[in-house]
C-alpha cells in the first residue's frame, strides 16, 4: 500500500514541478526570440516576475462583468493543472495518468477555451465577441486534426492512457513509423494553432485585428490575468511535453529511483530547450496569416494526421 | 308480422305519411320518429338473428344472414342519426329560403323511400328484386339531389340519373345472364332459381364458368358505378356537393355500402363456380385504381363536400380491393372498414353541413377559424377527419392495419401503392382541413344552431371499435368472413 502512496506523492510532485517550470519554458522561448531578432533579451525568469507583480496588483473589473467573469480564471487554471498532472514529464508509471486519458486531455482544453470565450463575451465589447468568435472557429477546425494525430498513437499503442502509451513507445525502441512522422507534423501544426503562436495568432501584440486569444482576456487584470497567463504557459508546456513524450521519449524514467529521475530531468530539459529553439525559428520565418487563410492551414494539419492514420491502418497493421 | 316486415314497412308507410305532412314544423320530428322505429325493429331483428342464426322469410323472398344483418342495423342507425341532423339543418335551409314547403315535403318522403329501398336491397333474397331495389334507390335520390333547383343541382341530378341509369342497366343484363346460367343448370321449370340462397347452395358449383364470368363483368361495371369506382365515379362528387348535406351523409355512408354488398353477394356466387380468383383480381385492380386516383383528386378540391366525397371514393376503392383479395384477414378488415367508414363519413358530413351553414359557403378557401367560432363544429370536423384519415385510436386505423397486414402476407409488393396512396390522401385531406379549422375567424362569423349529438355518438362508436371490437359484432364478422372467403379466421 505504501508504494501506492509514494507513487501518488511522486505524481503530485511532478505536477507541481510541471506547473512551476511552465513559465520557464516561455521565458526561454522569449529570450531565444529576442536573440534571433538581435534585441536585448529579458532574463529567462522574467515571466515569474510578471506573474508575481500581477498577483500583487489591485484588480480593475468592467462594470458589466458578472459572477461568471470572476470564476472563469479559476476554472481555466484548474483545467490546466489537471491536464498537467496527467502528462508524464519525468516519470512514466503515473497513477494520475489513469484519471484522464488523451481524449479527456482534449476535453480539458475545450473546457478552458469554452469558458475563456464566455468571459470574452461577458463584458459586451466588440473585442470580446471578435476574439471568442474567431477562437471558436480556429478550435473547431483544430480539434479533429488533433484527435486524428492522437488516434494514430493510441491505435499503435492500443491504449489511450498517456503513461502506458509512452512506456510502449519507449520499449519499442527506435522504429521508423511513417504514421508517426505524419502525426508529429500534424500535432505540431495543431499545437501552434492552439497555443496561439505566430501563423494563426500573434501572442506578443495587443493589436485589435491580429489577436485571437488576447482579445478574449483583454478585460482581465491583477491576479485573474496572472492565473490566465500562467494557464496559457502551462498549455504551451503541455503541448511541448506531449510532442516529446510521443515521438522522442528516450531517457524518461521508468521507475522512481533517484538516478533515473535525475537522468530523465536532464533529458527532458534538453529536449524542451531544443523544441523552444525550433518554435522560435518557425515563428521568425513565418508571418501571421490572414484569418480566413487559417482554415487552409488547419486543413493541411488535418490532412497530415489523416495520412498518419491511413498509413497506420494500411501500411503498419497490414491486411 | 315478423320483425323484418316491420323494418321494411315502417319507412315505406312513413314515406307516404310524410308526403302529406312533411312540410309541417313537426315534420322533422316525424321523420326522426319513423327512423327510430325502423332502427328499433332492425336492432330487435339483429339480436334475434344473433340468437337463432340466419332467418329465411316465409316466401323465401327475404334472407337475413351474418353478412347483411349488421348492415341493416347500421343503415337504420345512420338513417336515424342523419334524420336527427337533418331536422335543424332543413329548418335552417327553409328559414334561408333555399327550400320551399312543397320541396320539404318531397324531401322527407323521398328520404324515407330511400331508407326503404336500401333495406329492401339488403334483405332481398331474389337477385332481381335486389336490382329493382337498387334502381329505386337511384330514382329516390335523384329528386333529392336537385332539391335546391340551382343550375348546378339540376346538372348534378341529371348526370347522376343518366350515369347510374346506364350502370344499373348493365347490372340488369348481368342479372339476366346469371338467371340464364342458373336456368341451364337447375332446369327452367323451377321458379326459385333466382334466389340467392338456392344459387349459393350446394349445387351452385356447377354454373357455367364462361357465362358466369360474363355476368360478373356486367354486374361489376353496373354495381361498380353505384359504388363509385374510378372511372365510373364522375356522378358521385357532383351529387354530393349539390344535394342537401343530410342526403350526402346518407348517400355516402350507406348507398355505397349497399352497392358494394350487392357486388360481394355476386362475387360469392362467381367464386363458388369459378376455380380461378378472376373476379377477385378484377375487383383488386378496380379498387386499387380508384384508391390511388381518388387520393390524388383530394389535392385539387375547392369545395368541402366534393373533397369528402372523393375521400368516400378512396375508401370504397380500398374496400373493393380488400374484398377482391379475399383472404379471411382482408375480408374481416373490409367488413370492419364498411362499418367504421359509414359511421365516420356520416359524422363528417354532419359537421361539414353545419360548417358550410356557419361560413355561408362550401368553398374551402372561404371557411376559416371554425374552432374559434364554434368549438363543437371545429373539433368535430378535426377529429372526424383524423378518424377518416386512419389515425388510432379510431376504428378506421384497425381495419386499415388489418388490410395492410393481409396485403403484406398475400401480395407484399402491392403494399407500396397502398401506402403511397394513404400518404397522398392524408396530405390532401389535411392540407385543406387545417386552414379551415385553425386560425382567426373572419369578422362577423356567428355560431349556428347545431345538434352535434349524432357526431358525438358516431365518433364514440368508432372510438369504441378502434379500441376493442365487441364479441357479438366480431362474431358476425367472423361468420360473414367464413361465408365470403370460405376460410375461418381463427
Amino acid at each position: 500500500m505504501d508504494s501506492q502512496l509514494i507513487a501518488w506523492a511522486h505524481a503530485a510532485l511532478q505536477a507541481l514541478l510541471f506547473v512551476a517550470a511552465a513559465p520557464l519554458l516561455t521565458g526561454w522561448v522569449n529570450r531565444v526570440k529576442c536573440h534571433l531578432q538581435n534585441r536585448a533579451a529579458a532574463p529567462v525568469w522574467q515571466p515569474y516576475r510578471d506573474l508575481a507583480k500581477l498577483l500583487r496588483k489591485r484588480m480593475v473589473l468592467a462594470e458589466n462583468a458578472s459572477w461568471l467573469f470572476r470564476d472563469v480564471p479559476y476554472i481555466v487554471f484548474g483545467a490546466m493543472l489537471l491536464a498537467a498532472a496527467v502528462v508524464p514529464l519525468v516519470a512514466v508509471r503515473l497513477p494520475t495518468a489513469a484519471i484522464a486519458d488523451v481524449i479527456v486531455l482534449v476535453g480539458f482544453f475545450a473546457l478552458a477555451r469554452f469558458f475563456t470565450a464566455l468571459a470574452g463575451l461577458d463584458i459586451g465589447t466588440a473585442f470580446g465577441g471578435m476574439g471568442a468568435s474567431r477562437e471558436m472557429m480556429v478550435s473547431a477546425l483544430a480539434e479533429p486534426a488533433m484527435l486524428m494525430a492522437v488516434f494514430t498513437l493510441s491505435m499503435t499503442a492500443a491504449t489511450t492512457n498517456l503513461s502506458i502509451a509512452t512506456e510502449y513507445i519507449l520499449q519499442a525502441g527506435l522504429v521508423l513509423r511513417p504514421s508517426f512522422l505524419f502525426a508529429l507534423l500534424g500535432l505540431a501544426m495543431v499545437a501552434v494553432a492552439e497555443c496561439s503562436r505566430i501563423p494563426v495568432d500573434n501572442p506578443a501584440t495587443h493589436l485589435e485585428l491580429t489577436m485571437l486569444h488576447e482579445a478574449m482576456i483583454l478585460e482581465y487584470s491583477g491576479r485573474y490575468l496572472a492565473l490566465i497567463e500562467w494557464a496559457s504557459q502551462i498549455k504551451l508546456m503541455i503541448y511541448a511535453v506531449l510532442i516529446v513524450d510521443f515521438f522522442f521519449p528516450w531517457g524518461i524514467a521508468r521507475d522512481f529511483s533517484a538516478a533515473a529521475l535525475a537522468i530523465s530531468a536532464v533529458a527532458v530539459t534538453a529536449k524542451l530547450m531544443l523544441l523552444g529553439v525550433v518554435l522560435v525559428a518557425w515563428e521568425t520565418v513565418l508571418a501571421k496569416k490572414r484569418l480566413f487563410r487559417v482554415p487552409q492551414f488547419l486543413g493541411y494539419a488535418f490532412l497530415l494526421s489523416l495520412l498518419g492514420v491511413l498509413s497506420h491502418v494500411v501500411l503498419e497493421t497490414g491486411g | 308480422m315478423t320483425l323484418l316486415e316491420i323494418t321494411l314497412l315502417t319507412p315505406l308507410l312513413g314515406g307516404l305519411l310524410l308526403a302529406f305532412v312533411g312540410h309541417r314544423p313537426f315534420g322533422g320530428w316525424i321523420n326522426v320518429a319513423i327512423c327510430a322505429v325502423t332502427f328499433g325493429a332492425s336492432l330487435a331483428m339483429a339480436l334475434d338473428v344473433f340468437a337463432h342464426g340466419p332467418h329465411l322469410s316465409r316466401g323465401h323472398m327475404f334472407y337475413i344472414d351474418a353478412f347483411n344483418v349488421y348492415l341493416v342495423a347500421l343503415t337504420a342507425f345512420v338513417g336515424m342519426t342523419s334524420a336527427i341532423f337533418s331536422r335543424p339543418y332543413m329548418r335552417h335551409e327553409v328559414e334561408r329560403g333555399r327550400v320551399t314547403a312543397l320541396r320539404l315535403r318531397l324531401y322527407h318522403s323521398m328520404y324515407q323511400c330511400f331508407i326503404f329501398t336500401m333495406l329492401l336491397a339488403l334483405s332481398a333474397n331474389n337477385l332481381g328484386i335486389l336490382w329493382v331495389a337498387m334502381e329505386a334507390a337511384t330514382l329516390s335520390t335523384v329528386l333529392l339531389v336537385s332539391l335546391y333547383r340551382t343550375p348546378e343541382a339540376i346538372e348534378a341530378a341529371w348526370k347522376y340519373f343518366i350515369l347510374c341509369g346506364v350502370g344499373i342497366a348493365q347490372a340488369l343484363f348481368g342479372t339476366v345472364l346469371v338467371y340464364f346460367a342458373a336456368e341451364q343448370k337447375l332446369g327452367a321449370e323451377r321458379d326459385d332459381i333466382m334466389l340467392w340462397t338456392v344459387l349459393h347452395g350446394a349445387q351452385a358449383g356447377a354454373l357455367d364458368p364462361a357465362v358466369i364470368t360474363l355476368a360478373f363483368v356486367f354486374l361489376l361495371v353496373g354495381y361498380g358505378t353505384k359504388v363509385g369506382l374510378v372511372p365510373l365515379h364522375s356522378w358521385l362528387p357532383d351529387a354530393h356537393s349539390e344535394g342537401p348535406t343530410p342526403m350526402s351523409a346518407v348517400l355516402s355512408g350507406l348507398l355505397l355500402n349497399v352497392a358494394l354488398y350487392a357486388l360481394v353477394r355476386v362475387k360469392m356466387l362467381v367464386d363458388a363456380s369459378l376455380q380461378t380468383n378472376l373476379a377477385g383480381h378484377l375487383m383488386m385492380g378496380f379498387g386499387l385504381l380508384s384508391f390511388t386516383v381518388a387520393g390524388l383528386f383530394l389535392h385539387r378540391q375547392h369545395d368541402i363536400k366534393r373533397m369528402y366525397s372523393y375521400s368516400s371514393i378512396e375508401h370504397m376503392g380500398l374496400m373493393t380491393f380488400a374484398f377482391g383479395m379475399g383472404g379471411p384477414l382482408a375480408t374481416y378488415g373490409a367488413l370492419l372498414h364498411m362499418t367504421v367508414h359509414s359511421l365516420t363519413k356520416s359524422a363528417i358530413f354532419v359537421t361539414v353541413g353545419h360548417a358550410s351553414q356557419l361560413a355561408g359557403t362550401q368553398r374551402i378557401d372561404k371557411i376559416r377559424g371554425l374552432i374559434r367560432t364554434q368549438p363543437a363544429i371545429g373539433w368535430g370536423l378535426l377529429i372526424g377527419t383524423v378518424a377518416i384519415a386512419g389515425f388510432p385510436p379510431f376504428g378506421v386505423f384497425i381495419s386499415e392495419f388489418l388490410l395492410l397486414m393481409a396485403t403484406m402476407k398475400a401480395w407484399p409488393w402491392l403494399a407500396i401503392p397502398l401506402l403511397v396512396g394513404l400518404g397522398v390522401a392524408f396530405a390532401g385531406l389535411f392540407r385543406h382541413l387545417q386552414p379551415m379549422v385553425f386560425g382567426e375567424p373572419p369578422p362577423g362569423q356567428k355560431p349556428v344552431e347545431a345538434n352535434m349529438l349524432p357526431v358525438a355518438v358516431h365518433l364514440f362508436l368508432v372510438l369504441w371499435l378502434g379500441l376493442s371490437i365487441p364479441a357479438f359484432l366480431s362474431g358476425w364478422f367472423e361468420q360473414a368472413t367464413l361465408l365470403i372467403s370460405g376460410v375461418s379466421l381463427r
Partner: protein, 241 residues
C-alpha cells in the same frame, strides 16, 4: 341452317333483325320527332317478338310482358316525349352529328363485338332463339352509343330507353323472360324513369333554356388551378432581416 327451323323461329329471327335495324336508324336519325317514332316502332317490333317467343316456348306470362311493352314503350313513353317536345316547341329541332358515317361504322363494329362476346352463351343455350342473343346485346350497346353521341336530352332519353329495350329483349330471348315479379319491377322502374325524365326536361328548360346537354358543364374540374398549399408557398422560417 335457317331452313330446318320452324316458321315461327324464322319469324323471331326476322323481327330481331328488324329491331336491330331500328336501332341503327335511331343512331343515324338527326331530327327529334322521327327519333321518337322510330323508338315507338322498336317497341312494337319487340312486342311482336315477345308474342312469337311466348307462342314457341309456351310461356303464358310472356304475353303479359308483351302487353306491358306495348303499353309502355309503344304508347305511353313516346306520347309523353312527343307532348313534351311540342310543349317545349322543340319538335322541329335537329342536331347535326359530328361524322355520321363513322358512327354507323362504330355501330357495326359493336354488333361484331357483341357476337364475339356472346359466343360462349350461344353454344351453351339450348333455346331456339339462342343466336338472337348477340343481336340483343348489340341493341343494348348501340343504345348506349346513342346516349354518348347525341347532345339533346330527348335523344339521350331515347338512347336510355332503347338500352332498356335491348335488356328486355335479351331477357326474353335468352331465358324466355324473367319471373313475373321481376318483370313487374323492371317495368315499374322504367315507368318512373320516364316520368322523371319529363320532370327534368322542364327543369332543364327553365334553367338552361335549351335541352342541349353539352352546355351542362359547370361542375368541371379539368381546368381548375390546383390550390397551392400553404406548405409549398409559405416561406420556410429562418429568414432574418
Amino acid at each position: 341452317m335457317l331452313a330446318e327451323l320452324s316458321l315461327f323461329s324464322q319469324a323471331i329471327i326476322l323481327f330481331a333483325a328488324l329491331v336491330l335495324l331500328t336501332s341503327f336508324i335511331m343512331l343515324g336519325q338527326t331530327r327529334t320527332m322521327p327519333l321518337i317514332f322510330t323508338f315507338a316502332w322498336q317497341g312494337l317490333l319487340l312486342a311482336v317478338v315477345t308474342v312469337l317467343v311466348a307462342h314457341v316456348s309456351k310461356h303464358p306470362h310472356l304475353y303479359v310482358s308483351a302487353a306491358l311493352t306495348v303499353g309502355l314503350k309503344v304508347v305511353l313513353i313516346p306520347w309523353l316525349l312527343h307532348r313534351l317536345s311540342v310543349q317545349l316547341n322543340m319538335q322541329y329541332d335537329s342536331e347535326e352529328l359530328a361524322h355520321p358515317s363513322l358512327l354507323l361504322l362504330g355501330g357495326a363494329a359493336l354488333v361484331i363485338f357483341s357476337y364475339y362476346v356472346s359466343l360462349p352463351i350461344v353454344h351453351l343455350s339450348g333455346l331456339a332463339t339462342r343466336n338472337t342473343i348477340a343481336v340483343s346485346i348489340a341493341v343494348e350497346l348501340i343504345g348506349m352509343l346513342l346516349m354518348i353521341v347525341r347532345r339533346t336530352a330527348v335523344a339521350q332519353v331515347i338512347g336510355f330507353m332503347s338500352m332498356e329495350n335491348g335488356l328486355f329483349f335479351s331477357a326474353v330471348v335468352s331465358t324466355y323472360g324473367m319471373p313475373l315479379i321481376v318483370e313487374l319491377g323492371v317495368a315499374f322502374d322504367v315507368l318512373v324513369a320516364a316520368i322523371l325524365f319529363g320532370v327534368f326536361f322542364i327543369h332543364l328548360r327553365d334553367s338552361l333554356d335549351s335541352l342541349d346537354v353539352n352546355r351542362l358543364n359547370r361542375l368541371s374540374e379539368a381546368d381548375d388551378a390546383v390550390p397551392l398549399p400553404e406548405t409549398i408557398s409559405a416561406p420556410p422560417t429562418g429568414t432574418h432581416s
